[in-house]
Amino acid sequence: MTVGVFALLVRLLSRDDWGRAMLAEVAALDDPRERRRFALGCLGALLTRPASWLRVGGVVLVGAVPALLFTGPGGNGDVAGLVIVGIVIAICFVAVVHVEAVPVVARVACAGGLLWWAGMLASGTVRSHPEWALALLAACVAVAAWRGGVLAALGTAFVTCVAIFVVAVGTYAALPRLAPAVVPANAVHPAMENQIESTDPYVGELLLAALCGVALIAVARAAHRS
């Protein structure tokens, strides 16, 4: 394992002093075998912490976005659209590594995602009210700011937006029978057409996630520099 790969994994699992301490120890070792052994031990040590697993969960959540967008039906191969989606996904992957106050962010964003999911399953009209999603997002951000400060609020804004997108679009992809119909009852392929239509109302959440992600990256980097 090269120092570069190890550094990437450590940054993914830990943004505190312990991650930096392990990176410094590994960088100081000259023998490649010893360095590899020590680096693997450090990764094992980081994985003993629940916060590391929450971070892995965040990466899986962000990874679900391209999986849902690129494996589902629909899409017309629009190059500009693909570039924008690519940039948004890249920002989300960088942002998820910068999430701090992980336990607070995970709890609040999970609650936000589940609330949206419950509302969406209860009523077919919820999805056509983006202002309700914004209100839920604002409530989540307020709770996170109160519990963990600015970085927790930004992290929560970012993860909640991604969570709303994933639970909503993911339900139409993975559990189509559970999701309320959004196309007319006489549609030729209702499940497939529902899945195609399900993404549109949530594009805003994805773009908002990217914007929150950019703010999170900037603030987290500034906080680490100071």
Partner: protein
């Protein structure tokens, strides 16, 4: 009631108590007590969370290498290490015949 420590945690406490004024770094400490990074760091994290460890960063690292994280026992850690060491002497670990 005094907290019971694992043999590995005791070894780290005793090693740090041997040179209480010295700042130690992770790799050296691990070599000293015969623990791998995967065992050593969770112990250091726990000791630090409980206020038994003081930490700082190396002030003047060689060019091109990030500063190391350094550790030594806090006053509370030194007293726990003394207690733990005396308990270990009073109650030696039984070895199989």
């Amino acid at each position: 009631m005094a907290r019971r420590h694992s043999p590995q945690t005791l070894a780290v406490l005793v090693a740090l108590a041997d040179r209480p004024q010295d700042w130690r770094y992770g790799y050296e400490l691990g070599k000293d007590v015969g623990l791998r990074a995967g065992t050593l760091y969770p112990i250091l994290m726990r000791l630090s969370d409980r206020g038994l460890l003081e930490t700082t960063w190396e002030v003047d690292p060689p060019a091109g290498r990030p500063p190391r994280h350094l550790y030594r026992l806090s006053a509370a850690g030194a007293s726990v290490a003394t207690e733990a060491a005396s308990a270990r002497v009073a109650r030696p670990i039984a070895r199989p015949a």
